[in-house]
Symmetry: C2
Subunit: 247 residues, 2 copies
């Protein structure tokens, strides 16, 4: 936890009292004392500093903070993820990792090789999903909660929703081992966001590749090595970030 | 498991009989039948194809394979990792992920912010460590087992061992948030391998940074976002791979 995050409703005036895991973290991990200053942020709003006004350093922990916020929130990351729904344990890790790397919107989509049971996972509930996104923000020192959009049917997504989204993107890229295109030659320099797609374990089927490319996604390969979905998400995200930073 | 890996001692002639989890995988996941051909490899040696000669498709599973190997093994990846020992559960994931991405040697080193108890972890035993490396090879379709070197003391490593290793490297890079250097401007183009260093949760202390840079490592930053160690390993590895591929 590299930043203490508050929900907007928690900050009614300039002070806030914490009594949950955040208070425990401030006491037990940060070992903060009265007068010290901590990084603080409001979910989906500004960051700032919090001065420790009072501490109850034993169970039940309690910390009173005085909050000073910056004037403007940071900007939304320029990268979005299109992800074939992975198994729940992997999705939890991806939610936190990709939020830490910086993502605007995560589109979860069905695919032929997605196991039906994955759609029953509790991680798809707004509350549980949000907790993993928050962990990513707390890790990376950010306040901008990614949007998560769930598309339980592939065809309506690829035929109606994706074409509607397309105009906002400068780059729509699809990781796919069976192509000669490389990422470095596939990225365009233009204004607009970048969307990248990662398929299920075993890959997209031909029909899906055909529909996704028809909707404007450009397949690229990172070479012969086959990566697990969670490794691939971080690897592709990092490569795209580097190309956008150097553009 | 995208390739069936054999230990060198298992292949006495051109056929091999499997009776363990690999046989189960061939039967239950690949659903291979007699006459089919599978990707196969020998740990630290060649890859090739295996023809299924016989299958016992129920418990205890048994698969007899006829093996045809390529003439030469693939080359060792050009990237090595220097990693402050992370907590065991994270190290297991990193072993598999970085092996899948392609790594030559993994140096595990002590640091001020490494918890002492991590050094007692069973994952540091050769046998357990090897099992996670093998998973990475099976995932990525490779046979080259990374070397793992364990350095329980920071000073002898940084003062004696690292300077001895230095001549083989073209690039020695150290992920460190408190610098203005970017990776893209820090990478040299020359013959020789690339080493990258990832610190513990909380980062290296000043003394460690000073000693590592004195030994030739060049600090670079990926920006303001703070990443967990396992995310950072994959992110930095992918960025370096991309720069080496485009060089």
């Amino acid at each position: 936890m590299n930043i203490i995050l508050l929900e907007p409703a928690e900050l009614t005036d300039k002070t806030v009292v914490l009594r949950d895991h955040r208070a425990k973290h401030i006491v037990k991990v940060l070992k903060s004392e009265v007068g010290e200053s901590l990084r603080i942020g409001i979910v989906d709003a500004q960051m700032g500093r919090a001065k420790v006004l009072a501490v109850v350093a034993k169970y039940p922990f309690e910390v009173r903070l005085q909050v000073e916020l910056e004037n403007t929130p940071r900007s939304v990351p320029q990268i979005d993820l299109l992800l074939a729904l992975p198994r729940p344990i992997m999705l939890k890790r991806i939610f936190s990792q990709v939020t830490a790397l910086g993502v605007g919107t995560i589109h979860l989509v069905n695919a032929n090789r997605v196991e039906k049971s994955f759609w029953d996972a509790s991680i798809l509930s707004e509350q549980e999903c949000r907790s993993y996104l928050i962990r990513g923000l707390e890790q990376a020192v950010d306040t901008r909660l990614p949007a998560v959009r769930v598309h339980r049917q592939f065809r309506p997504f690829v035929e109606d929703i994706l074409p509607e989204l397309a105009p906002r993107y400068c780059n729509m890229l699809l990781a796919h081992p069976q192509t000669e295109n490389r990422l470095v030659t596939s990225m365009k320099t233009c204004s607009g966001r970048t969307l990248y797609g990662i398929g299920p374990e075993g890959g997209w089927v031909d029909f899906e590749i055909e529909r996704l490319t028809a909707a404007g996604m450009l397949p690229f390969s990172m070479g012969q090595r086959i990566l697990k979905v969670d490794t691939a998400v971080v690897a592709v995200h990092s490569r795209i970030s580097q190309l956008l930073e150097s553009a």
